[in-house]
């Protein structure tokens, strides 16, 4: 399949694998809630960056535009995990 040889297909494959890892492995109770939450959200941030840079082609965009969206990933991930770590379960 020629389609699967395209660089964007490799990105898609990594995204699919990362989703399977978080959904059906890291979500298990065997992991401590904090370890699971931190790893799941770091992976989510990584996945969002892959979509932004490769699917949405921001890696070829003017730098200010790229930085706006990179900042969104950083702030969202930091805010979610920062607030999560304040909870009693953490």
């Amino acid at each position: 399949m020629v389609i699967l040889l395209k660089p964007v297909s490799l990105v898609w494959l990594v995204l699919m694998l990362a989703t399977c890892v978080t959904t059906w492995w890291l979500s298990k109770d065997a992991f401590s809630p904090v370890a699971a939450a931190v790893s799941i959200f770091l992976i989510a941030g990584f996945k969002v960056r892959l979509v932004l840079l490769h699917f949405m082609e921001l890696r070829h965009a003017p730098l200010p535009w790229r930085l706006v969206f990179e900042a969104w990933v950083l702030i969202s991930t930091a805010a979610v995990l920062g607030i999560y770590l304040q909870s009693p379960a953490a």
């Binding site: 995204l15 969202s76 607030i83």
Partner: protein
């Protein structure tokens, strides 16, 4: 030579589609960002209730829906790539596949909502479900709008509307559809996985 290449590289930097769509995307993502933070702050108030309610959600639905949206986005990338290469007959094929994935997401979400509602769980059940229905509902509207966009693009692409010289329309729709994907990538772990 290197300087020449890097100069060309800088010059060739461009946003896909038109800038207005990116302003909309940035604003929409900022709004969802605020909602993510509100959810987390509300969760801080009552973690036990949020955890108990979260456990009633089926992670399989969330996970499969993520796989569906990622695959849909991949097909859209392939469609844009085909337009760039002037492989015109492939554009509608990929867009149709992306559209079917979008419909599959809608069907799966509708099934999940029906299951929850028939179990007596609604927006009024508790704060967690208020967020669950609001956030997933707003996202669902984005998916429905995206499906309409994909349908229109598919129809235009059958007439060979998108080529390497004329691809702004397909790029605008593609960028919007990828944003819908990005939002779900964060929403899913936030609602379904965070213990």
């Amino acid at each position: 030579m290197t300087e020449l290449i890097s100069a060309n590289h800088v010059e060739s930097r461009r946003l896909p589609g038109v800038e207005g769509v990116w302003v909309f995307i940035a604003a929409d993502m900022a709004m969802f960002g605020v909602l993510f933070v509100s959810f987390m702050l509300e969760r801080l108030e009552n973690p036990a209730l949020f955890e108990q309610s979260r456990r009633a959600l089926d992670v399989n639905f969330g996970g499969i829906n993520t796989l569906i949206l990622l695959t849909s986005s991949w097909f859209v990338c392939l469609a844009v790539d085909a337009a760039k290469r002037d492989q015109l007959p492939q554009v509608p094929h990929h867009l149709a596949a992306a559209f079917v994935c979008g419909l599959a997401f809608c069907a799966s979400k509708a099934f999940e909502y029906t299951k929850k509602l028939s179990a007596g769980i609604s927006m009024l059940t508790n704060d967690f479900y208020m967020f669950y229905y609001t956030l997933t509902g707003m996202h669902f509207m984005h998916v429905v709008a995206g499906c309409v966009v994909l349908g229109v693009l598919w129809n235009k692409s059958r007439a060979g509307a998108f080529t390497s010289d004329n691809r702004v329309g397909i790029e605008c729709g593609a960028s919007y559809w990828h944003m819908v994907d990005v939002l779900w990538i964060v929403l899913f772990p936030l609602l379904y996985l965070l213990r």
